[in-house]
Structure formats: structure tokens, C-alpha cells
């Protein structure tokens, strides 16, 4: 780990004043479960680390006119035990439970989950977001078993976020603050597939802090299904979060978002549209799952993830609709 300065501001304003204009200037520290590893591996070497855990504006889960507001520094554990979340958003609860480590749930924050860097082993070894070595594309020609099957490229890492797919499916917005003011971004647009090694995977600027997430409350049925090898702490291989607004027994409108299959959560818009007007059965859920991965372009080693992603969609839909497989 490179040396850095440290500050632990008590207000958002102070925190924003401590950020810089370049990514190397300052890093925001919340749970630390990702940032510390990145710094130990010298993937990130910020000159300053700004702890945001003491900032009241970033805390708490409250009901507002726009929905449920989740502070970015809310921990996974707080989220999983919150009555508002449990009442309306099983998709978020299930994503939280998928982080099967008490320690990780106590430390990790919702904002940190959204902003965490990819787990791509080439990225973590210092080869960048679009890793190459001696002119070779490391992901395409190397070991791509855990990499992307969806997305337009050129990035092939997978977004590691647990909550991103659920928040997108639920139509959430994220609030971002800088010294100049605040802005609001749809969760779907918060994730960005980088086009080069200098940009980030999220729509944050170096001088900005993600402050809160607002999830609209509706009657939509929602669920998340994660496929992980281990029951103990483990990265999912594919996940799906779905949200279904029902019209009687049929689907009025749907959102289907896949996780861990592309450099951003993958919004399977076509599959969602196809579901409209249909009821959820094993057959329609399976067909929607297949439709969701129609555009998949697996790499050398990860064809297996295509089926897995389709199955995650199927199972999430069945869970949301309460249909037994």
C-alpha cells in the first residue's frame, strides 16, 4: 500500500472539499472491504483517503415522498434488517443475503457495493480495465471463465455489484454530490462500460460522492436469484433481479436485470417486453430467461454462463411471482 493522507470529515461539505480533480488524488473510504484490497495490491494508490462513514447525510434508511431513501453509507446488514426494505424489496434483501459473511455485511455499504471495482483477475494484477499484455487481449485470449458474456465491449470484466441489478430493476435513482451541487442519475445509467483504461465503471467524477439511493415504492413483485458455487462467502457466477408490475394475473410490465454477466448490470429489455401480457409459468419464465441472453457473446471459456444467466432469470421470475418450479 502506498502512503496516503487521511481525513474523516463530519459533514458532506467538508468531505467534498477534500476530494480532488483526478482519480489519483483522493479515494472515498466507506466499508473498506474493497478499497483496502485495491490499495494493498497497488491497483489504486490515492494520495488521500476520505472516510465518509461519519457523515450523517450518508446514513439511514427513511421513507420519503419519492420512495425509500437509502444512505450510501448504510451497511449491508442495516439494509437486510430494515423493515421498509423487507416489506417492499425482496430483490434487495435477497441480494444482501447473498453476501454470506457477517463480517462483510457489517462492514460493506450499499454505496460501496455500487462503486466497488471489478474482481477481474487481470485488473487486480495491474493490467487495467481493458487488460492487455504484449499486444494480447488478456481476457479474450487468457482465462475468461469468470468474465462477461453480455455487453458491447471492449470491457469484458463483470460488474461485481450485488445491489446494482436489483436497484435497476426497481427503478431506483442514485444521488451524487459535488462541491457544485447534487445531481440525480437513474441506477441504470450509473453503471458505465469503460471504453479505455482511464475511465471508471460508474458515472462518478473524482470530485463527487454517491450520497444516497432512492427506491420508488410500488406494488411490483420483485426478487433476486443468485447462482453461487459456495454457500459461504463467494462471488456469484450469475444473478438476476426482476420486478413485475402485475395486471391481474398477467404481467403488465417487467424489468429483468442480470448481474455478473457484463461490465455493467445487463438490462434485458427485450425479454422484459416479451413478458408483458403473459402470466408467469415455468414455460414463460424459461422462455424469458432464454430471451434475456439472446445477445450473449461468450468468450473462450465462459459459454457455461449463458445457460446459467438464463436459469437465474427463470428462477428470479418464478420467485417474484411465487410460482413453484
Amino acid at each position: 500500500m502506498q502512503p496516503f493522507e487521511y481525513a474523516s470529515p463530519k459533514t458532506l461539505k467538508e468531505a467534498l472539499a477534500l476530494l480532488g480533480t483526478g482519480w489519483g488524488d483522493a479515494a472515498v473510504l466507506a466499508g473498506g472491504t474493497d478499497l483496502l484490497s485495491l490499495m494493498k495490491d497497488n491497483v489504486m494508490a490515492p494520495k488521500r483517503v476520505v472516510n465518509v462513514k461519519e457523515i450523517p447525510e450518508l446514513k439511514g434508511i427513511t421513507k420519503t415522498g419519492a420512495g425509500v431513501r437509502i444512505g450510501a453509507a448504510v451497511t449491508v446488514d442495516e439494509l437486510a434488517n430494515n423493515a421498509l426494505i423487507r416489506a417492499s424489496f425482496p430483490a434487495l434483501l435477497e441480494a444482501a443475503q447473498g453476501i454470506s459473511s457477517m463480517q462483510m455485511r457489517n462492514m460493506g455499504t450499499v454505496g460501496g457495493d455500487l462503486c466497488q471495482r471489478p474482481r477481474c483477475w487481470y485488473f487486480r494484477a495491474g493490467f487495467g480495465l481493458l487488460p492487455t499484455h504484449e499486444g494480447k487481449n488478456l481476457v479474450a485470449e487468457g482465462d475468461s471463465r469468470y468474465h462477461a458474456i453480455l455487453g458491447a465491449g471492449p470491457a469484458h470484466f463483470v460488474s461485481a455489484s450485488s445491489f446494482g441489478p436489483a436497484l435497476i430493476a426497481l427503478g431506483a435513482k442514485v444521488k451524487i454530490a459535488s462541491a457544485k451541487g447534487t445531481r440525480e442519475v437513474e441506477a441504470a445509467k450509473f453503471f458505465v462500460a469503460p471504453q479505455n483504461n482511464e475511465t471508471r465503471e460508474v458515472a462518478l467524477q473524482p470530485n463527487e460522492i454517491l450520497t444516497e439511493i432512492v427506491v420508488p415504492v410500488s406494488a411490483a413483485k420483485n426478487a433476486t436469484y443468485e447462482i453461487r458455487q459456495k454457500d459461504a462467502l463467494d462471488w456469484p457466477l450469475a444473478t438476476a433481479s426482476v420486478s413485475l408490475t402485475m395486471k391481474g394475473t398477467a404481467v403488465g410490465s417487467a424489468r429483468i436485470v442480470l448481474g455478473h454477466v457484463g461490465p455493467t448490470p445487463f438490462d434485458a429489455d427485450g425479454a422484459a417486453k416479451w413478458l408483458a401480457g403473459k402470466s408467469i409459468t415455468v414455460e414463460t419464465a424459461e422462455a424469458a430467461g432464454k430471451a434475456a441472453v439472446e445477445s450473449a457473446k461468450p468468450l473462450k471459456d465462459n459459454a457455461y454462463k449463458v445457460q446459467m444467466a438464463a436459469v437465474a432469470v427463470k428462477r428470479a421470475l418464478l420467485a417474484a411471482a411465487g410460482v413453484k418450479a
Binding site: M1, Q2, P3, F4, E5, Y6, A7, S8, P9, K10, T11, E14, A15, A17, L18, G20, G22, D25, L29, G31, G32, T33, L36, S37, M39, K40, K47, R48, V49, N51, K53, D77, S100, S101, M102, Q103, M104, N106, M107, D231, A232, L233
Partner: protein
């Protein structure tokens, strides 16, 4: 015994140049380089002001096992490394050092966390409980420890303190756990020798013992 015989050495590592102007920040201590810890106020500076400290050594106070403990740390030092090195509190182990294995588990304000992924400077003002803080009271082992021994829930023992801390934290929130809950609850720790069978039994037994009033 401190691993740092000459405390002045710790501050000889000068911080790299930063693009920031430091005017307006209260503490210049961290940025001037070779300042002996004795010259640094004993107040935990980062705690109360939006000041910037470091990158060189900063005097801090950590509340460890109920005791205010002085340390001098660079901001980049993890709580785990400061515990194990400078403070010679070695029950928490450095194994994966990346928040994957749980061998470094400690309680922070009663919640179990990975000490390898916490900056020591960020642990100021919090109640830190290591395994040493509760495992023996007046020569008597904590029920979790007793149950681990009775159920042979340790082999090489290197993951064991982390598991005991995690088990205690789990039982604090699940005083009447089912077998399934125990398996779900301890997913943040790994063992290489394969002691899970004993640990499952131990946690269930400890729950019973703690209800029986033998909790230390």
C-alpha cells in the same frame, strides 16, 4: 513488546507529494515527515476535525478490550497489522489479508469485522474487542471457548480465534440458533484443516451453555 525499537524510525518514511494545498487544514503534523511521536499531541486528531493527517505517523488512541491504547500509525496501516505488530495483540491472524477468510475477525462496537480491511486510524473512537478481550475471564474460558475445546473444533488452530470471535458475535444476535442458522451464520470464515463439523456442534453447545448462565 513493540516491534518498533526505535519509534522515530516509523516516521522517517516521508509522504509522497500530494497535489493538494494543505492550507486550511489544522494538522500539519503528518505532512512534515520526521516528527518524533513524542512531539505529536496525544489527542486523536483525525477524530474531531475535518483535518487531514498523514501520510507519516500519527499518534492515535484505540480503545482495545476496554483499554485506551496509544499507537503511532501511518494512515495506511490496517488495524490488524497494528494489533499484531506494534501492540503485540496476536490472537487475530493475518491469513488472506483481503477480507476473504475471517482469521482476523474482531468486534468493532460489538459487530464482527475483518481487521485486515479496517484502517487503524479509522478505528479510533470505537470499542475494539479482540479474542483476548473476552476469551478468558479470571482464568475461566468463555463458553464459546469451552465448547470449541469440548467439540474439538480446532486443529492447527490458526483460523480458530477468528471463528471464536465470529461465533460469539453470531450468538450475540442469535441466542437460540438452529443448526441451519449456524451454517448460514459463519460463512465469513474459512478453515483449512477442516474443523467445521466440530465448530457446528460447538456453537450449538455454547448457545445452550450461555443460556444456562455460565456466560462469562
Amino acid at each position: 513488546m513493540s516491534q518498533f525499537q526505535d519509534p522515530g524510525e516509523r516516521d522517517k518514511v516521508k509522504g509522497k507529494g500530494s497535489g493538494f494545498s494543505r492550507r486550511g487544514f489544522m494538522q500539519g503534523v503528518g505532512v512534515t515527515g520526521a516528527v518524533a511521536p513524542a512531539l505529536i499531541g496525544t489527542d486523536a486528531q483525525a477524530q474531531t476535525a475535518p483535518g487531514v493527517v498523514g501520510p507519516a505517523g500519527v499518534a492515535i488512541i484505540l480503545n482495545i478490550n476496554g483499554k485506551a491504547t496509544k499507537a503511532t500509525v501511518e494512515p495506511r496501516e490496517t488495524l490488524l497489522d497494528v494489533l499484531r505488530g506494534q501492540l503485540d495483540i496476536t490472537g487475530a491472524k493475518r491469513v488472506c489479508d483481503r477480507g476473504s477468510c475471517g482469521a482476523c475477525s474482531v468486534l468493532v462496537n460489538g459487530k464482527v469485522m475483518y481487521a485486515c480491511s479496517i484502517l487503524a486510524i479509522d478505528a479510533q473512537g470505537k470499542q475494539i474487542t479482540t479474542i483476548e478481550g473476552f476469551s478468558m475471564t479470571g482464568g475461566k474460558p468463555h463458553p464459546v471457548v469451552t465448547a470449541f475445546v469440548a467439540n474439538d473444533a480446532q486443529q492447527c488452530g490458526y483460523c480458530t480465534p477468528g471463528f471464536v470471535v465470529a461465533s460469539k458475535a453470531f450468538l450475540d444476535t442469535h441466542p437460540n440458533p438452529t443448526y441451519e442458522q449456524v451454517k448460514d451464520g459463519l460463512g465469513g470464515n474459512l478453515c483449512r484443516c477442516g474443523t467445521y463439523v466440530g465448530i457446528r456442534k460447538a456453537v450449538l453447545e455454547a448457545a445452550k451453555m450461555m443460556k444456562g448462565g455460565s456466560n462469562a
